[in-house]
Amino acid sequence: MQEQDQKIDGNSPPEEEESVRRLLEMAGPRPLIPQEDLDAIAEAARSAWREQIRSGRQAPARRPLRTAWMALAAALIVAVGLVWWWVSRAPRDAAGVPPPTVARVEAVTGPVQLKTNTDEARTITTGELILQGAALHTDNGKAALRLAGGATVRLDAESRLRFASATVLDLEHGALYVDTGAGPRPRTAIEVRTPIGTVRDIGTQFAVRVADHEKAVLSVQVRTGAVLTRHRGRTYRTQAGEELALRHDGTAERRQIPTYGSDWEWILAASPGFDIEGRSLREFLDWVSRETGWRVRYADAGLADSAAKIVLHGSIGDLRADRAPFAVLPGAGLEGRIEDGTLVVRRH
């Protein structure tokens, strides 16, 4: 593996790579910047900038006149369309500017209520856009969402989640699962704020549960990567395969947990599914692995190579990720078996 790494990461001159490595090692991890401070700065700056643009104080003097007229005409056309769209669809804040879109609903199971600053609560549907400041409340339902930065989120039943921004989520109660690595593009860190503490990811899959029962009131389970949790002025780092439990009295417990199995069951039930049409077998099994927490092992190297070339067709319908392989693999002349958290794929 080490040899392979050196080989495939060899595009840069070795001395440049070495210097970057030394600098980063010297500096260590970046101290966290409070997200609410960044949000406050961005909000103040955004308001000031919009006001200036509105008042026309900053005419782009360096632009050629013709370009300016063309830009103005284009802007007018776009503005008319946007105004029509906003008037017809979007709620507005006090200043008349709609809040930004922070997430999209990918799947809903059961009743899930959406509450915005201006609207009465209503039931959400798949494909709906969530604006900043809105809150979701699940009774018996579950929801899967994709945040604007690409991370995916699952919300368990009996939960309430408010979207402070596309990267800051307020979990008032219930459970939330975050997968920050499955999106088409990487993104900035996700912060989950709860009444007990704040959880911040470092590129990972993790679940946060806020509960009032007598045991732990805040539980953080990490499936891959690591997360930082702040509670009463202390910062805890939780690694993959660990659960951190924090109580109101400030005590903390850490224990080892499996990264698959019953603890993660509800996440599968809230999954938006996977469209296999035209996708390779490897892509499909990567999705299975990410959803279930299973490792995938091919019985031989040739099979691993073939997995990237086998193209799937059709649909798995509503099959969950922990069941779909056993329907798909036989069609490719393969079979799968679970061995201690590993999906072993072999030829028939």
């Binding site: 010297m26 970046r30 101290p31 910047i33 700065i41 700056a45 000031a48 900053q58 690595g181």
Partner: protein
């Protein structure tokens, strides 16, 4: 106890700049005209009212400005937020003055530096002192020479801060990939998996990330160095007291 005072804006001796003393990791740069056309384009798009340009501006600079200011205010979070907000708001009001003669980060850091000065002049108070023994945490790989060498510790911390600012200025996935690679020591295959791309694509991304880091780091060094010798008040100095 040896106590050091660091007046805001922080001024380190010139040798604190890693570019001095032959310590620039990739060698001394050749003399060339600085190209800030990308910054100028971003500013022009913002002046034209482009929302995405504003978001890119916020994403690229606000964290670095926060870190820059936070360090010079002795970790005063409330004041840092206030200073950065004010400085950025004022900078936006004067955005059409930006001509691309310096990097945008340098220009913005100067705004923060001036705002810090204005703040302390207005309050007619002395800048906060920095208690090294309280403030300085060990920097990995840079153990201080000994209790008598607090300056060395300070310089290493400043270098570390500049690296962090340079990472802040990168697209988030570049910074994340570099940290996975060099801090978490993840294999490229794992990085590729986390990024949702193939290993070849991750390899290319890491190469671009390193190049972007180099550019960003040089810009940060310029931003931190500019004003150390020219914009500070006469009483801003680093001194040692018993």
């Amino acid at each position: 106890m040896s106590t050091w005072s660091l007046s805001p804006p922080a001024r380190l001796p010139r040798r604190s700049c890693p570019r001095a003393a032959g310590s620039l990791p990739w060698g001394e740069p050749t003399v060339r005209e600085a190209d800030h056309s990308g910054d100028l384009t971003l500013v022009e798009r913002m002046l034209a009212g482009d929302e995405r340009a504003f978001e890119a501006f916020a994403e690229r600079y606000f964290k670095a400005l926060y870190r820059f200011t936070f360090a010079r205010l002795r970790g005063d979070r409330e004041l840092t937020r206030e200073i950065v907000q004010t400085a950025v708001t004022k900078a936006l009001a004067k955005l059409d003055n930006y001509r691309g003669e310096a990097a945008l980060l340098t220009w913005l850091c100067s705004c923060c530096r001036n705002e810090i000065l204005m703040h302390f002049r207005h309050r007619r108070t002395a800048p906060p002192a920095v208690e090294l023994e309280e403030e300085l945490e060990p920097v990995p790989g840079f153990a201080p020479q000994g209790p008598g060498d607090p300056e060395a510790v300070l310089l290493k911390r400043e270098s570390a801060r500049q690296v962090h600012m340079a990472l802040d200025g990168l697209p988030a996935h570049y910074a994340q990939a570099l940290e996975w690679k060099y801090l978490d020591r993840l294999p490229v295959n794992d990085i590729a998996w986390r990024l949702g791309v193939r290993p070849k694509a991750a390899e290319s991304l890491l190469t671009r990330a390193r190049q972007a880091f180099r550019t960003s780091y040089e810009a940060v060094q310029d931003a931190c160095a500019t004003g150390q010798n020219t914009e500070e008040p006469n009483d801003a100095r680093t001194r040692s007291e018993d």
